[in-house]
Symmetry: C2
Subunit: 289 residues, 2 copies
């Protein structure tokens, strides 16, 4: 590992990922563990990183939950509107630089980790003016203009889907599967009448008991009801906008389908790739220093 | 127990309750256990009842999940519009009469147990014309006319509240407590703009991180957001209607507050009392036979 120049780290609530980086931005190796922030106390972060990558005396640039109040060291949120935070706003612990998240005062919003994906995206597409959607457990929608995050909002559709499909009465009716027509039908129901979410959820169970809907249909219908209600709330973020979706393949494609059905053409970008691009962009400031 | 004439049973998913009844409708004793339908196989029901009340050779009238497909013996749903089912529609196993639930084909809906509370309510107020709201894990709204259940709908707000408050990211921000102003404010937000539920949920977490909202305020706000979205969906069930709320004290009072804020005067009725009235009404047919 003689060429190793620095370590890029993405520290989530449930996962830790690290890339050993060469001097020219090449990835020498990548590593992952389950030592997410949720399992660690503040003095557990340094040992967890050492367990993952070994005892390397290199600069570290980290984003995500490592900077939360219960993380390695707090990196206080920067307030929008502003550019995604860079190295000069990072909290430093020895050779470790922890990038801050972003906050919005009204309506209250926070993000940690997505700002680095946005920074990565903007490092490649500097003149982007439009909206970035980052689907996940907590999906973020960010309005970007002149290189700044102007405003953003969060929908918990991913977490709601998991809770409903795995822990509610609907778990008896929803099994992994996909039916595009059921998805699009449900999507349009809650997008046009968001109040129908409240009755649509139990309706999935009742339809299964009475009419024995295929479980893939129920899975897609639950997803469609939740994402339709999300799109109704996020209308100012996608209507007439240029939208880039950054996320893991499967969930990103579901959002692409949902937006395409509204006539919104979407560009997809892989989440990990954007994270690494964002960490590299921060690292360039370190080299310049 | 020489005066005992019959046994009234309310068999829920997680609870079993029984009342030993005298000849004149007097309750001689009441009993409860955790032998809900969810913990039993079909051949476990008779022993569970015997464990609870002893080996009594008496007629039994049961409502609730005992009649589900996975219950003691299936009592197929009766389809609305119709009167709440009575003894002539019960499934019989020896001296045990299991009352059926109700179904609605479009939109698909089912209930088991609430129909007996409705029957109890109507046995006392025969000419009621309006809406009965039965708050709970799955809140039912039923339109009643000429002694019949005309239509009904279900909202999972109670189950959603429990999942979000106990198992989602919001569990860090929501602790038991109550703040009426937060409740009413949130209620009016989602009632007037139901799409705002999708962003309002994570907003509770963000507001707590940024502004340190008191947890009782967050608890009431979560309740208000969910019930406001429910009222938006159920508008045809309460707007300009006479509404009776049947439920356990605390949750029934929350619905009363929510409806009062819309100018709807509500009458409250205790859930267990209505269940027992409904089982007694069914029993009168047994005496008449």
């Amino acid at each position: 590992m003689s060429d190793a120049a620095w370590i890029a780290v993405d520290w989530g609530t449930s996962h830790l990922r690290a890339w050993i980086m060469g001097a020219e931005g090449a990835v020498l190796s990548q590593h992952a563990s389950d030592d997410g922030m949720g399992t660690l106390t503040p003095d557990g972060f340094a040992p967890a990183l050492k367990r993952l990558v070994g005892d390397l005396d290199l600069p570290v640039i980290a984003c995500g939950m490592a900077g939360s109040r219960q993380g390695w060291a707090e990196a206080p949120y920067v307030a929008v509107p502003c550019k995604p935070p860079g190295l000069d706003q990072a909290t430093r612990v020895g050779k470790v630089h922890i990038l801050p998240g972003m906050r919005q005062d009204q309506p209250p919003e926070v993000m940690r980790g997505e700002e680095t994906q946005i920074a990565g995206f903007l490092s490649r597409d500097k003149d982007f003016d439009g909206v970035i959607c980052l689907p996940g457990t907590h999906t973020k929608w960010a309005h970007i203009s002149a290189g700044e995050v102007v405003s953003f909002r969060t929908a918990m559709s991913g977490e709601l889907f998991a809770l409903l499909a795995e822990r509610s009465i609907l778990r008896h009716s929803v099994e992994e599967g996909w039916d595009a027509a059921s998805f699009l039908h449900a999507l349009s129901e809650t997008l046009s009448r968001p109040e129908s979410l409240a009755v649509g959820l139990f309706g999935i169970r009742a339809a299964d008991l009475l009419h024995e809907v295929g479980s893939g249909g129920a899975f897609a219908r639950l997803s469609g009801l939740l994402i339709g209600a999300e799109l109704a709330a996020m209308r100012p973020y996608w209507l007439g906008q240029q939208v880039a979706v950054i996320g893991a393949d499967r969930v990103a494609r579901i959002y692409e389908q949902a937006l395409a059905a509204q006539g919104v053409a979407v560009r997809l970008h892989e989440g990990d790739e954007m994270t690494l691009l964002g960490l590299k962009a921060a690292h360039r400031a370190l080299e310049g220093a």
